[in-house]
Structure formats: structure tokens, C-alpha cells
């Protein structure tokens, strides 16, 4: 596991100055994502560090499943956080942080796919192996492992739109109202799209199962 390079300057907060996030750990209930993002918008950039800690894992998981490429997922996740910093002034008072974040992630992923279609990125096979390895616990059966691989393959075969709505609605645990906000459609349309995507995944899953048997 590579270590964090020493030359990256990560400045420490001066003694006596606490961000809302830090203060919350000590004395107050944790601030909501929304409150933290409002603080970022108002110039408290340290709160972005707390938002990163809370959300980078699920965001990376979403992007890695969307792209099927760990390196690309990490690059896109980085861009998402950079855009959050850059466009922090556009965050609205009535905003919902996760919806906003995945909205940006969706845009960044689209940029990635557009670039990749003109100059395809080489996918390192070790990415997939590493991905698979990490999913295997000592107590997991070979059957479970096979199921996971089958499901990943089925996900990979879906249209990007279907994969996107499934990942958002299932794996990121967003409500349909939030998914609708990310996808810029009505709640009803988001629900229908998620259902169609689920059925497409099932068909793809059974199709691959059949291919494997034959």
C-alpha cells in the first residue's frame, strides 16, 4: 500500500482555531453535510476536509462501478472534490449535499466518458483483480465470489444510463427524489428508469449465467 508522500504540504490548523467539524466532535452534535457545505461556501475550506472524509468512500465506490476502472474512478473523484471547491459559491441554501455531489460526479463522469471515447484509456487488468480480491472475505464462499463477479459483469454490460440510475438508487442509497434531482428528471421518471434498469440487470445476469453454463 503506497504511503502518503511527505512532500504534499498538508497544513495543520493553528492551535485554538477549530472548524465546525472539529468542534462538533468535541462538544456539539455533528454538523450536517449541508451545514458543512454552507461553511465551505462561506470560506471555511477546512470543512471540505470533513465532507471528504464522510463521502469519498461511497463516491469512489459509485465511480469505480460506473467506470469499471479504479484509476479513472480515483481521477474523477478528485475532480469532483476540486469542482466542489471551485464552484462552492453555487451551492444553494436549500440544497441537498449528496444530490449536489452526485450531480457533479455525473457531469465529471460524462466528461471522462467523452474523453475516453476519443482516446480510450488502457484498463489495467490488475485493477479488476484487485477489485475482485478486495471483495473476498475469508469466510466468503466461492459461490458468493462467483455471484459478485457475475453481477459486476452484468452491471458492466448495462447501458451507462441504466448503470448510473441503479448505482445511485441502490448502492448510494439515495431516495428517488434525490436521484431525480441528480438526473434532472421527475421523481416518477427516476422510479421508472430505476425499475427498467433493475430488470435490464436481471436479464443481463441470467444471460451471462446461461452463457457460462453453455
Amino acid at each position: 500500500m503506497p504511503s502518503v508522500p511527505a512532500e504534499i504540504p498538508v497544513l495543520m490548523r493553528p492551535a485554538g482555531i477549530e472548524s465546525p467539524a472539529r468542534r462538533s466532535v468535541d462538544t456539539l452534535p455533528p454538523l450536517s453535510d449541508h451545514d458543512l457545505m454552507l461553511a465551505v461556501r462561506d470560506g471555511d475550506l477546512d470543512s471540505m476536509g470533513e465532507l471528504f472524509e464522510r463521502h469519498h468512500g461511497p463516491l469512489f465506490g459509485y465511480l469505480s462501478k460506473l467506470t469499471g476502472n479504479r484509476t479513472a474512478a480515483e481521477d474523477i473523484a478528485q475532480v469532483v472534490f476540486q469542482r466542489m471547491i471551485k464552484y462552492r459559491h453555487t451551492y444553494r441554501d436549500e440544497g441537498k449535499f449528496t444530490a449536489w455531489m452526485y450531480h457533479l460526479a455525473r457531469r465529471c463522469a460524462s466528461d471522462h466518458f467523452r474523453k475516453a471515447s476519443s482516446a480510450p484509456l488502457a484498463v489495467d487488468p490488475s485493477d479488476l483483480e484487485e477489485h475482485a480480491d478486495q471483495s473476498i472475505g475469508a469466510d466468503q464462499s466461492a459461490q458468493t465470489r462467483d455471484d459478485h463477479e457475475l453481477l459486476r459483469t452484468a452491471l458492466g454490460r448495462l447501458d451507462r444510463d441504466d448503470r448510473e440510475v441503479l448505482l445511485l438508487s441502490r448502492l448510494q442509497e439515495l431516495s428517488f427524489a434525490e436521484v431525480a434531482s441528480v438526473l434532472e428528471c421527475s421523481v416518477g421518471a427516476a422510479r421508472v428508469r430505476a425499475h427498467r434498469a433493475l430488470r435490464a440487470l436481471r436479464d443481463s445476469y441470467f444471460q451471462i449465467q446461461k452463457e457460462n453454463l453453455t
Partner: protein
């Protein structure tokens, strides 16, 4: 409730997210429709499998890069704030001669402002238009620092960026700014030396001379200091003489650096 409306609610039923009334309607339909019940069973299993699908973890590099971006933005904000402060202190109505602006800029913004200064040297009057232009350029500096220094995880990555910039046959202003920023801010001696080396091809440009000269006082590594002095001599940067004189008399400076500075003064 018809079959389509029922099956569209399967995911929410599985997640127990339906309100009581809708759930009762869906369950009632499922009780009487074998086809939908089969679909419910299949999709529920699929949903359970999807939910159990493990997610990979990102590498520690992601944290380092994002934290670097945050620090970079804080730096930019600080620079903007200082810049605004200087703008306010240099109130309108004050004699706007070049020399007074040099003092304001040098004391306030250090390296980045000096690089910018290359663009305005020779201008006797600092008009509002020029001030606006300077502000834009300082913003750009912050972004360039971010891009050329903080975003790249390893010194090797940053070195590669600098070497790529050096190979560019027709570099634009932004690229040269990036090289000067690497020379000013990069923590790696190797990267700074290569940035300086890349700037040799553009030593005839005033902005490059001013940039290297601006970087000299903040440089602490003797090897880079001597290389900068050599650069200034090669560029025939006579305006470097005062700074070189100061360096040649600096008792804290390395002996070889002081000697180099003295030789450079003679040559210039």
C-alpha cells in the same frame, strides 16, 4: 393497482420505503398476480445481491490530492485577501508611479506578484485596467500553483510535468508561468532544477528573467541558488545586480553561493 405500477414499486417494497397505504395496495396485487409475484421474488434477490456487492477502497493518494487542493485554495484565498488589502492601502489619488507599485507588490505578494510585475515593468502609470489585469493574473497564479505543484502526488509526477513542458516547442504564457511557479513553489530540488533548465530556452523574455530573479531570495538550496545565478548571468539580467549584491554579502548564505553571486556581479 395494475402490474406495471406494482412492479415499479418492488424496490421500494423490498426496502420498506413505501407508505402503508401504497404497501397494502402492492401486497394486495402481489397476492393475486403470480407473474408479479415471480418478478418480485427475482428482483428482490437481485436487489439483495446488489446491496451486498462490496465496494473497493480508494488509494491514500486520493486523500493527499484532495487535501492538497484544499490547501491550495486556502493559499489562493489568502493571496487574494492580501492583494485586496494592498489594493485598498494603495488608495486612489496616491501618486501611481511604477516604483511605488513595485514596493507595494513586492511586499504584499512576493514571488507571484513579481512574476506578474514582469508584465508591467516599464509602465509608469498604474491604471485601473492594469490593476484589474493584475488581479486576474494573481488568480491564475493560484490555479497554476495548484496544478503544477499540489495536484501531482509524487515528485516524479511533477518532474514529468516539468519535462513535458520543457519539450514543448512553442510554450504559451501559461506554460511559462507554470514553470516559474514550479521553480518558486515545488518542494523537490530536482523539479526546481529541471524547471529552471526548461526556462533557459525562454531566457530572453522579461517575464522569465523577472520570475527567476523573484525566486532567488526565497530559494534555500545552494545548488538551485547557484543555478539561478548562472541563469541570470546567461540571460544578461542586469537588473539582478542589487539582489546578487545582497546575496554576496549575506553571511547566512553558503560560501559557494556568495562567490557565485560576486562573480555574476562582475560578469553583468
Amino acid at each position: 393497482m395494475n402490474c406495471q405500477a406494482c412492479t415499479e414499486r418492488i424496490a421500494e417494497l423490498a426496502d420498506q420505503k413505501l407508505d402503508r397505504e401504497t404497501e397494502a395496495l402492492v401486497r394486495s396485487h402481489l397476492d393475486g398476480c403470480e407473474s408479479c409475484r415471480r418478478e418480485f421474488d427475482e428482483l428482490s434477490r437481485l436487489i439483495a445481491s446488489l446491496d451486498a456487492l462490496p465496494s473497493p477502497a480508494p488509494s491514500p493518494a486520493l486523500r493527499a490530492k484532495v487535501m492538497g487542493s484544499i490547501e491550495s485554495e486556502k493559499l489562493t484565498l489568502r493571496m487574494e485577501s492580501e492583494w485586496s488589502e494592498r489594493m485598498r492601502s494603495a488608495a486612489p489619488g496616491r501618486p501611481a508611479r511604477g516604483a511605488s507599485w513595485i514596493q507595494v507588490l513586492v511586499s504584499g505578494l512576493g514571488v507571484a506578484a513579481l512574476v506578474v510585475l514582469g508584465f508591467v515593468l516599464g509602465e509608469r502609470n498604474a491604471t485601473q485596467h492594469q490593476l484589474a489585469d493584475l488581479r486576474v493574473r494573481v488568480d491564475t497564479m493560484g490555479q497554476l500553483v495548484e496544478q503544477s505543484v499540489l495536484q501531482k502526488r509524487t515528485a516524479g509526477d511533477r518532474l514529468e510535468t516539468v519535462l513535458t513542458a520543457a519539450r514543448t516547442t512553442q510554450p504559451d504564457e501559461r506554460l511559462i508561468d507554470g514553470l516559474i511557479n514550479s521553480l518558486a513553489f515545488d518542494p523537490s530540488v530536482n523539479v526546481r532544477l529541471n524547471a529552471l533548465s526548461a526556462l533557459y530556452s525562454h531566457a530572453d523574455q522579461e517575464v522569465v528573467k523577472a520570475g527567476v530573479l523573484a525566486c532567488l531570495p526565497r530559494e534555500s538550496n545552494p545548488l538551485v541558488q547557484i543555478s539561478m545565478i548562472d541563469f541570470l548571468v546567461a540571460a544578461k539580467a542586469r537588473e539582478a545586480s542589487p539582489e546578487l549584491r545582497k546575496l554576496s554579502l549575506d553571511t547566512n548564505a553558503n560560501g559557494d553561493v556568495r562567490d557565485s553571486a560576486r562573480r555574476a556581479i562582475d560578469l553583468l
